[in-house]
């Protein structure tokens, strides 16, 4: 891997040094890095002239920011109203049981992060789960277990915790 701080320097160059660009900058950092580390937040806050305390307030206020590295694959279950009526919560419960983690957490082997999202606006195909940005219409535990198996097998370093075991 190239110098891990290089991309941050490149990103900083794209944003004028003003507080209003803090959120966009943090979003871009997360896109590259998967999460926002202490050091990168410090750089972003210095660049946009926002005190670190306020940058931290921002990063913890908005749900999409992560301060810890996520798992290799992300399963997002939509909990919009249509998905709720069609069993979205049961999917969350089922996945929680299967992966032995609560929503917002990552499995110990760093394979899966389970999260919930408040409506992805795809209500016609409820319940919806999004696995690594791919939408799964009419999701069920059966379909999701299959998908989890598929993405695990595709992983470069196949990890011990076989999710379908």
């Amino acid at each position: 891997m190239a110098d891990p701080t290089q991309y941050i320097d490149d990103l900083l160059d794209q944003y004028p040094p003003k507080p209003e660009y803090l959120i966009g900058l943090l979003q871009d950092i997360q896109e590259h890095q998967g999460h926002i580390s202490y050091d990168s937040m410090l750089l972003a806050s210095e660049h946009t002239k926002v005190p670190l305390t306020q940058a931290y307030s921002v990063a913890t206020f908005y749900q999409s920011f992560r301060l810890d590295p996520p798992g290799e694959h992300e399963i997002k279950v939509c909990l919009g109203t249509a998905c709720h009526l069609n069993g979205g919560q049961q999917l969350v419960d089922g996945l929680s049981r299967k992966l032995k983690i609560e929503p917002g957490e990552t499995t110990e082997d760093m394979m899966f992060t389970l999260s919930t999202v408040n409506c992805v606006g795809a209500c016609a195909i409820a319940p919806v789960a999004v696995v690594d940005e791919k939408y799964h219409p009419g999701a069920s535990m059966r379909k999701l277990e299959k998908e989890m198996k598929k993405v695990t097998e595709l992983s470069p370093d196949k990890i011990k915790g076989e999710p379908n075991a």
């Binding site: 202490y38 937040m41 005190p51 670190l52 306020q54 931290y56 307030s57 913890t60 206020f61």
Partner: protein, 200 residues
Amino acid sequence: MIKFKINDKEVEARTGWTVLETAKEYGIDIPTLCHHPAVAPTGSCRLCMVELKEGDWSKLVASCIYPVKEGINIYTETPKVHNVRRWILEMLLASCPASEEIRKLAEKHGVVSTRFPIHDPDQNCLICGLCQRVCEEVVGLSAIAVVDRGVHKKVGAPFLRPTDICVACGSCVTICPTGAMQEIFDTVRGKPELPLTQLA
């Protein structure tokens, strides 16, 4: 001067005053917690709600931020005001069970028990944000953050690591209405043996 009425009594206020400031001037008691004259009001604890009436129409406003207007009618003790106040005091009793100040305040308004579950019996911070505001607005630093949101909101330092931005001036401890900052202070400033960088 702006003329209006509080509890049917004619009062006068300067332009730019809030209802609360005017009420204080006239010795009318409105309970507050998150308000302090040294910092800008934010209207977050909602304890100072009063009723604004115009004919049949009425609504509740936070007196600490509501700017006075000519001819308005404000009532500080109505059934609606009491309902909000009672519920908020119950919320405060449950969120800050360790605070003597809040127990006394509630008692003064006739609230001695709460219907809310107590999750942490040692808690006394109501997250009014006075500490953060005084640090930023008066001291001119930004050592304290209000982090997270909703039910998880709390006061602390970034990544919960002590910060050397803090100059240990103690303003936050002084302004805290419940004494909660005493404990939080150490997590912000860090243990005294850590070097404190004096910022210019």
